[in-house]
């Protein structure tokens, strides 16, 4: 492994679009190494199974790969790459989890929500965060863990900006009013 690639995502995508075989592969590798952990974290939010998360990782980057020629027509980044990768990773993880549940004989239960685990001795913060609805927890995570802007979150979730603002507002309100952690908020 050589030094980290300093090119921007836009530059790397441009090389993937039009570069020769070797340069395109190198640029794609840089994109992979730069965003691999993000994609894996997203996948883990929707399936706690390590192997399924790794399957989702591969599916997500296969999806990205096929955006470029020869199969794809090329990719133009209109937002940061994580915004594009998030829904792909989420869908890949949910799909993988669904297939696994069906294979295990489980019913076709709705899986579009983050698996919530709240042990009885959970930290107050953990319990409060887990108590949020999946949609609100998702927005909070994208905003404060992945540092996406509200506009980027709207693109990633394919919902109106107003919906993102509303979910975030309600999530913060809920946390602020949660007796377990309200003291952490400024008065």
């Amino acid at each position: 492994m050589g030094p980290a690639d300093r090119r921007s995502d836009e530059e790397l995508v441009a090389v993937c679009n039009v570069g020769d075989a070797h340069e395109a592969a190198r640029a794609f590798e840089s994109l992979y190494r730069r965003h691999r952990d993000f994609v894996l974290r997203v996948a883990r939010r929707f399936t706690r199974d390590r192997e399924l998360a790794l399957d989702a990782l591969q599916e997500t980057f296969a999806y990205l790969l096929n955006k470029f020629p020869p199969a794809g027509s090329g990719l133009t980044l209109t937002a940061r790459l994580p915004t594009l990768l998030y829904p792909a990773a989420k869908n890949a993880a949910i799909t993988a989890a669904r297939k696994a549940r069906r294979a295990a004989g489980a019913g076709d239960a709705e899986l579009d929500e983050l698996p919530a685990e709240v042990p009885s001795d959970a930290e107050p913060i953990d319990a409060a965060l887990t108590a949020l609805s999946p949609e609100r927890r998702e927005v909070v995570t994208l905003r404060f863990v992945d540092d996406l802007s509200l506009a980027e979150i709207a693109v990633a979730l394919d919902v109106p900006l107003g919906t993102v603002k509303s979910r975030l507002h309600l999530a913060l309100k809920e946390l602020r009013e949660d007796s377990r952690i309200k003291d952490l908020f400024d008065p």
């Binding site: 050589g2 030094p3 993937c16 570069g19 020769d20 075989a21 070797h22 340069e23 395109a24 592969a25 794609f28 590798e29 992979y32 691999r36 952990d37 894996l40 974290r41 883990r44 939010r45 390590r50 998360a53 790794l54 990782l57 591969q58 980057f61 296969a62 790969l65 470029f68 020629p69 020869p70 199969a71 930290e123 913060i125 953990d126 409060a128 965060l129 909070v140 995570t141 905003r143 404060f144 863990v145 509200l150 603002k165 509303s166 975030l168 507002h169 913060l172 309100k173 946390l175 952690i181 952490l184 908020f185 400024d186």
Partner: protein, 137 residues
């Protein structure tokens, strides 16, 4: 008035920090997945036509200069022969350690090293060539 516009979008540091720690609780390191993705990418892009060689505006005058040099070589070969050009590490042999030396110089100096990836690959292919005509000396 939109109430969401009045509330700050901040999360107390303790909560944000905990949320980040929870999200990153378990690092997954799986070289097999990395290899699978990167191999797929190499295969995918390998189907792409190789980039055509760029024709430089200097090609014609350089070609003429090359012809002059070639003539000079044929007349006085010892003057222009550089048998040690590929012996990067000065070991007296040309092998993969010279390729490694070139690659390390490129990694350390980047474009400023004057060493291109093409040069590294060309030397690599020369050391493995089966025909003496294509092999590194």
């Amino acid at each position: 008035m939109d109430p969401t516009a009045e509330q700050p979008e901040t999360l107390p540091p303790a909560i944000a920090s905990r949320l980040r720690r929870l999200d990153r609780a378990e690092a997954i390191f799986d070289p097999r997945s990395d290899r699978a993705v990167l191999e797929a990418a190499r295969s995918y892009f390998a189907a792409r036509p190789a980039a055509p060689a760029r024709r430089s505006r200097w090609a014609l005058p350089l070609g003429a200069a090359a012809a002059v040099l070639l003539a000079a070589v044929l007349v006085r070969p010892l003057v222009f022969h550089t048998p040690s050009a590929d012996d990067v590490d000065g070991s007296g042999r040309v092998d993969v350690l010279d390729v490694l030396a070139l690659a390390r110089m490129r990694a350390a100096g980047g474009d400023a090293s004057g060493i291109t990836d093409t040069r590294i690959e060309e030397l690599a292919y020369r050391i493995v060539a089966l025909d003496s005509a294509r092999r590194a000396p």
